[in-house]
Symmetry: C2
Subunit: 393 residues, 2 copies
């Protein structure tokens, strides 16, 4: 055995922490009657009109390799959809179809990162956002959001100070898990400074349409030029209840599109053509569904936040977007242990705050993309553990 | 602008060459009546019984996130399929469903590679095999197959000498583009030496079922123990005409499975559940189709190889597997230029040898997964350019 061989499984992959939530969920597989509110997923299957289009495409034999950047009809449809949504032309030469939002993030980082580069982002954050650049050899720095007047808030100038010297700034607005949303002014200011510095901005906007007023969250696309160093990540998962399909897209500077095409060729190549047909229908005929979902989520948010805030020991900044309540239970000293206890005793599955790169204990994420019945039952089950946290933890 | 920012688009991605074949194909989009034989793709759509199962699953609302390693029913089906095929138990704890063979290769390399490690493989080779580890920061070394007595052949001991000190040996048998296939004895010898050295072996066996005698090509799984440092890559693409679906799988040492699960979480997460249902049906009800395809390919191989060998200036080692003729035209000094000329003048699309990491000019790959009519027409169109190569090139 050579020395090299003996190192065995000590690759970079081993050093990236596994998903805490996934581990909890796997361990809870056998708990009967559990209400699982840990994953970020709508509770309803993909609308029938979208599924039917995929079935039609399959029946028509559309099962061959697709172009690396996606089928031309889908790239066209995305370009039209984005242009209409943001009231400015977003050319098809900037669009790359991807195999999920996660794949989009991987391609985005691969196209601009080098070993040892620094990536700066905000916390609380969806952990994969940082695991992806870490797996690519980047250093990561985080900057924490604050709670002010019962809402999540960002000191933009302090964040820009933290971001000095970074190769890439990564933002996720609307944010998972907090529902925090940057204002149009904050977006304009960040874009201005990063443009001046020549810093890359990867903007994960997969919750762009999960907002409670207006059609979409403010986007960096609204304050940028095509050749700005901006990469916007979108996904079909949340907006059209298509989580299982693994479909997303990137909006790129035109000069970066061929680079992403090249990397995609060495990654997954391209999403299934029958899924791409379904995606077109989602974009073109999905507005009624999207509007109804936003209403449902707003209703569910109010139900859940009111239910949580009824407990004195609970802090729950009211989310402005996405479909999560991210809340703190006073007195909890170990969120993972507490989440494990809640699985066993309350039979409710929550994602512990530790999963979102947050040091402070006591935080949990609850996905409220659920029926009223399930949410009411979950709140009732959680109730004794929110009131008595101090004694239990 | 900081110095860092000025470096701009000089990331690792930029340095990996794009796919030569993809570039030629893109440039040829407008050539009417072209017979495209460059890509490795069966000419028929996915069998109806497989598509129908996906449609049924979609109609049943199976559109949610799947487990990182794949749906349990598909992992079970793969374990049974592999165990039956190779006559030994291959446990479900070794199986990871992936989003294409390319994704499988990415996950395999990510799970064992570190920046600066060396990967050794054989040429001619499918270029993505080396682009993937290169994008992950590895150094790559190639060792050339030879043509002996009209067949591709490998000096195994010389190759093992080349592979000394490598972290990973990558093999692709049956091979794209050559159709070269390692014998059972060669496989046993390579496994023995690499085991002794503690070297990782990634064995890309996506053409395992595209063989002209027997049910499958010899596999490293047949001569290995579960905890050997062996990762086998398979795909649904070629065997069941499912190229567009992006579905593959890995067979891993059980201890590596959790590592791949973790990386998959940060990559694409998991293939669509409706595709995974279709994959089960392919595995369980596809044998008749697989056998028929092998017969068709053998017939097409004979047709094409005889057609090519009728020309004095053509060298065409007869492939034992896969669905490519990889042949040399005497006198061609620039395969890419010649392939470009063939697009324009013969209206036939071939992949130039340069695409397969081969230095020697004059080689081309022709995919014969086509109808007799198309193949005969292509041979006729190519005929003057095979006879006259010396004058034209």
């Amino acid at each position: 055995m050579t020395i090299e061989a003996k190192q065995g499984l000590e690759s970079r992959a081993i050093q990236v922490p596994p998903s805490i939530t996934r581990e909890l969920a796997n361990a809870a597989m056998s708990v009967e009657g559990l209400i699982p509110l840990w994953f970020g997923e709508p509770n309803i299957p993909t609308p029938k009109f979208i599924c039917d289009e995929a079935a039609r495409s399959l029946a028509a034999g559309e099962t061959f390799y697709a172009e690396g950047l996606g089928r031309p009809y889908l790239r066209d449809a995305i370009s039209s959809y984005m242009s209409a949504l943001y009231g400015k032309s977003i050319g098809v030469d900037r669009i790359a179809v991807t195999v999920s939002g996660g794949n989009a993030l991987n391609l985005a980082f691969q196209s601009v990162l080098e070993e040892g580069d620094t990536v700066v982002t905000l916390t609380p954050a969806f952990p994969n956002l940082l695991s992806i650049p870490k797996l690519q050899g980047a250093r990561t720095i985080t900057h924490a959001l604050e709670v002010k007047d019962g809402k999540w808030s960002l000191d933009v100038e302090a964040f820009l100070e933290t971001a000095k010297g970074a190769k890439v700034v990564l933002l996720n607005s609307p944010s998972n898990p907090t529902g925090f949303m940057l204002t149009k002014d904050e977006i304009a200011r960040i874009m201005e400074v990063l443009r001046e510095r020549g810093t890359w901005l990867i903007s994960d906007e997969v919750y762009a349409r999960t907002v409670y007023s207006g059609k979409a969250a403010p986007s960096f696309l609204e304050v940028s030029e095509p050749e700005d160093r901006l990469i916007v990540v979108n996904s079909f998962s949340k907006t059209w209840a298509m989580t299982g399909w693994r479909l997303g897209w990137l909006t790129l500077p035109p000069s970066l599109t061929p680079v992403v095409e090249k990397i995609a060729e060495f990654s997954i190549a391209s999403a299934p053509p029958f899924s791409q047909r379904a995606a077109v229908v989602a974009l073109e005929q999905g507005e009624e569904f999207v509007a109804q979902m936003a209403k449902n989520y707003q209703h569910a948010r109010d139900l859940v936040c009111n239910g949580l805030l009824a407990h004195e020991g609970v802090t729950c900044p009211v989310p402005e977007s996405a479909f999560y309540a991210y809340f703190k239970v006073d007195g909890v000293t170990d969120s993972i242990a507490y989440a494990r206890m809640l699985i066993e005793e309350a039979k409710v599955g929550l994602a512990p705050g530790d999963a979102f790169l947050v040091g402070e204990p006591g935080w949990f994420r609850l996905c409220f993309a659920q029926t009223d019945e399930q949410l009411n039952e979950a709140l009732e089950r959680l109730s004794p553990f929110l009131a008595k946290a101090r004694e239990i933890a």
